[in-house]
């Protein structure tokens, strides 16, 4: 009676792991029709470029060309700024409640077309569908909803009665969150009564062009939003244009510096959101499992193509082994591959150029003596890929501790005391974000007061909300996006 049989396992084990997930791909057809070539969106119409040069945008996961698009010329920029100028008088004199209606409409259309936008963004950028579906596109809609709410309440935003818009805003955005960066720029500009000319990045123009369709669908007055595509030459033409009143740029620090130099002495208002080398600081009393999730989310979210990525892990020496073991165990479960597979955690690197930059810096890390580790994982044969990578034995003097890598590469440094953590965290030309992991509330406040970073996350990382201002210190730029503060960048105050 007491002798029992072992419970045998009645289920046949499939090859390749007990519970290997079958492919669960999102259909590329869900991205809607992608034209073979695109012009610009100026004055409410899709128009051809005055020039003949065309660029190609490729799917970085397959290296297949998705579409051709125009390289914007000086003349194209001239037409776009003129269209925005023409639209400004009527748009800025609309009651805020009327402008809000358009923004609410845009937000709702984004929600309705969220699947289409998510798939298109994944294909053009290489980021996993899980992130575009669950993070990018919902955040885009949230931004438009939030600033729609401000449009008729600007008198109460703290900038005095009846604050005035600036005029035409020239906006240049990066490729890492194409549609989200567009939303961060366009939503507050429109809510405050400005009109815009926006240039998307040359590797990811498709969702901006799709957004132009949404503007038409929403019945937005012609010329309020204009999209001019092209590379840095087009961007330079836009920011240099004499009839632009406001320049907003998100991208690299060298380009931001060039724009600041270009605009010096002009009356243009400028906001810059540039690079970062954020410290993610883990104390010995941190909730370890959640800290590991936060570290992973901090650096491997969006393949590490995040200006505020937690690219430097500062871990207290007394828990270094415990944290690193847990981190490696967790990294081994990251799923790298097809961005359109719903179970993919890390997608493709956005471009061959970015892959080359990551490779160069990681090679430098090895050459300088840091220890490199990556989990076993198979990378697809075509496309641009980089394994999630961990460097230990990194010191402040290493390039991988100083330069922005903008890829799935984490540099691990250690500290002994809170003072040392602050000193190391601040020892960078950047100052965009930082993370603190500790169960002690008083230490969070003590640290946050001393960290020179625009955003300090406590027991979390890479969380964004339209109500919260975002922006940097030092070489990470100036001006704030998001929240009430984000209105100031587009008001004549």
């Amino acid at each position: 009676m007491a002798k029992k049989k072992n419970i045998e396992e009645p289920v046949a084990k499939p090859a390749g792991g007990l519970f290997a997930y079958a492919p669960a791909p999102e259909s590329p057809a869900a991205a809607g029709d992608i034209a073979t070539s695109y012009g610009h969106f100026i004055g409410g119409e899709f128009v051809d470029s005055s020039g003949s040069e065309a660029l190609k945008t490729v799917n970085p996961a397959t290296e297949q060309v998705l579409a051709e698009f125009a390289q914007g010329t000086d003349e194209d920029v001239e037409r776009a700024v003129a269209a925005a100028r023409k639209a400004f008088a009527d748009w800025s004199s609309l009651p805020g409640s009327e402008r809000a209606k358009y923004l609410f409409r845009i937000a709702r259309i984004i929600q309705e077309r969220s699947r289409e936008l998510a798939v298109l963004e994944s294909m053009d950028n290489g980021k996993p569908i899980r992130e575009t579906r669950d993070f990018d596109i919902p955040t885009v809609a949230a931004w438009f909803f939030y600033y729609a709410g401000w449009a008729d309440k600007l008198d109460y935003a703290g900038f005095g009665a009846n604050p005035r818009p600036l005029g035409v805003a020239g906006q240049v955005i990066p490729w890492n969150f194409p549609l989200m960066m567009l939303a961060w720029k366009i939503a507050p500009a429109l809510a405050t009564g400005n009109t815009v000319v926006l240039k998307p990045a040359e590797t990811t123009p498709l969702t901006a062009l799709r957004f132009a369709e949404i503007c038409r669908q929403a019945g937005l007055p012609k010329g309020v939003v204009n999209i001019v595509t092209g590379d840095g030459r087009t961007g330079a033409a836009l920011t240099a244009h004499p009839d632009v009143n406001k320049v907003a740029f998100t991208g690299s620090t060298p380009v931001g510096r060039a724009i600041a130099r270009q605009l010096a002495g002009s009356r243009k208002k400028l906001s810059l959101e540039l690079g970062g080398k954020a410290a993610n600081i883990v104390f010995d009393d941190a909730p370890i499992d959640q800290a590991v999730e936060g570290i992973v989310n901090g650096i491997f979210f969006n393949q590490g193509h995040v200006c505020c990525a937690g690219s430097r892990l500062l871990v207290q020496e007394s828990v270094q082994d415990e944290v690193l073991d847990a981190l490696k165990r967790r990294m081994a479960t990251l799923r790298v591959g097809d961005p359109l597979d719903k179970n993919t955690d890390i997608g493709a690197i956005n471009s061959a150029a970015q892959l080359a930059r990551i490779t160069e810096l990681t090679d430098a890390g090895e050459a300088e003596g840091a220890d490199r580790w990556s989990p076993e994982c198979e990378l697809p044969g075509t496309g641009f890929w980089f394994k999630p990578t961990l460097f230990t034995g990194v010191s402040q003097a290493h390039r991988i501790a100083q330069e922005e890598i903008f890829g799935p590469v984490l540099s691990v440094l250690t500290f002994r005391t809170p003072e040392e953590a602050v000193a190391k965290a601040n020892n960078t030309p950047y100052g965009l974000s930082a993370g603190i992991w500790t169960e002690k509330g008083s230490r969070i406040l003590w640290m946050a007061n001393r960290l020179k970073a625009g955003v300090v996350w406590a027991n979390t990382f890479n969380k964004f909300d339209p109500t919260s201002p975002f922006g940097g210190y030092k070489e990470s730029g100036y001006g704030r996006e998001g929240g009430r503060h984000g209105l100031e960048a587009y008001l004549d105050v």
């Binding site: 669960a24 669950d134 027991n459």
Partner: protein, 359 residues
């Protein structure tokens, strides 16, 4: 034949740094021992002295790393977005069926009801003999003999709740008698409830000693033990810090399985609570070499729910726990939903509740 009542151990060579980390945290408290004991109430290597006294146990439990509620819930939610399709779904459905502790715990239970449930457990889908049978039938102690009889000739286990289930509000001798009675009636597994009142008032040592005593009551005349599952009723313990502490407490006391809930209170198994318990058994094995199972119970009703739990097991613990030895679902209505999804995979069409049996 192998004995399931003995907790299998991993080879004791690999004491990962987590164990070292814990040991470092409790330096002076923990004596690293190379001998892995398996007697009730004594954990394996490394943490043997933790439960030497009220004070040491308390210091250990309060020294465990904290749990960040937001982060834990976010991780569980993210794992819940995994998309399980085609072959993976077919595998997971069969695995889930084979992990069910098919349960009836009602005042209205009769011999007829228990027999019907046992028949269902043996042959969940009479139209398809390839359907796996469930892991166990879970009943009150007075129904153990009935279930045992109805399951004769199968390897389906009989699990019995005990220790004044579900509230656990009885004197210790009563609880022990309840347990011994179920074991004597032939129960293969005992699902005990802890004294939540004692835990919430900080009397951890009382909870610990009670589990040790119940484990002793699981001993059969031949020296083997009925498998002991320890129910925490996490809906009453409320905080995640409490769940982590009670998980370690129960494992130190000799639990073979840790189980979320009785199914009798408002909040039963949830993904975050289960994820936290999965992390606890992972860390416990890393620290001691002893592997402990996990059983979420109550509120898991759909195939989609079950998939989410299996994904959590897969990505937190991996292959070692993906078997009925180490993971169970305490459920009743879940089985029919799994069967309907199984039929749908086979035929391409949804059938309906009239095409699965009512038990």
């Amino acid at each position: 034949m192998a004995e399931v009542s003995v907790r299998p151990r991993k080879p004791a060579g690999k004491v990962v740094s987590l164990a070292v980390g814990y040991a470092r945290r409790y330096a002076g408290l923990v004596t690293m021992s190379t001998v892995a004991a398996n007697a009730p109430g004594v954990a394996g290597s490394g943490l043997a002295d933790v439960a030497a006294s009220e004070a040491s146990l308390r210091r250990f439990l309060h020294g465990l790393p904290g749990v960040d509620q937001v982060g834990l819930e976010a991780r569980a939610a993210t794992l819940g977005t995994r998309s399980i399709k085609t072959t993976a779904k077919a595998y997971a459905i069969d695995l889930a069926i084979s992990m069910i502790d098919l349960t009836t715990l009602e005042g209205a239970d009769t011999v007829g009801k228990v027999r019907a449930l046992c028949a269902k457990g043996r042959t969940p889908d009479p139209t398809d003999p390839t359907t796996p049978r469930v892991a166990a039938i879970c009943v009150y102690p007075d129904m153990v003999a009935t279930a045992k009889d109805a399951l004769r000739g199968t390897d389906i286990q009989v699990a019995s709740v005990a220790t004044a289930f579900p509230a656990g509000r009885a004197a210790l001798p009563v609880k022990l008698a309840d347990t011994a009675d179920a074991v004597a009636a032939g129960a293969d597994e005992i699902d005990m409830v802890i004294d939540r009142g004692a835990f919430l008032s900080g009397r951890y040592f009382d909870v610990y000693n009670e589990i040790v005593a119940v484990k002793e009551a699981c001993k059969r005349p031949d020296g083997t033990y009925a498998h002991l599952k320890v129910i925490f009723e996490t809906g009453e313990l409320q905080t995640y810090d409490n769940v982590r502490r009670v998980s370690w407490l129960a494992m130190l006391a000799g639990a073979d399985f840790i189980k979320t809930s009785t199914g009798k209170v408002a909040v039963n198994a949830t993904p975050p609570v289960t994820l936290l318990m999965l992390e606890a058994v992972r860390d416990f094995r890393a620290a001691t070499g002893v592997q402990v199972g996990v059983k979420p119970a109550g509120g898991i009703k759909t195939t989609k729910d079950a998939m989410k739990y299996l994904v959590m097991v897969n990505e937190t613990l991996g292959d070692d726990w993906l078997s009925p030895h180490w993971f169970r679902f305490g459920a009743s209505s879940l089985l029919n939903d799994l069967l309907m999804q199984r039929q749908k995979l086979a035929t391409g069409r949804y059938s309906g509740p009239d095409y699965v049996t009512v038990d």
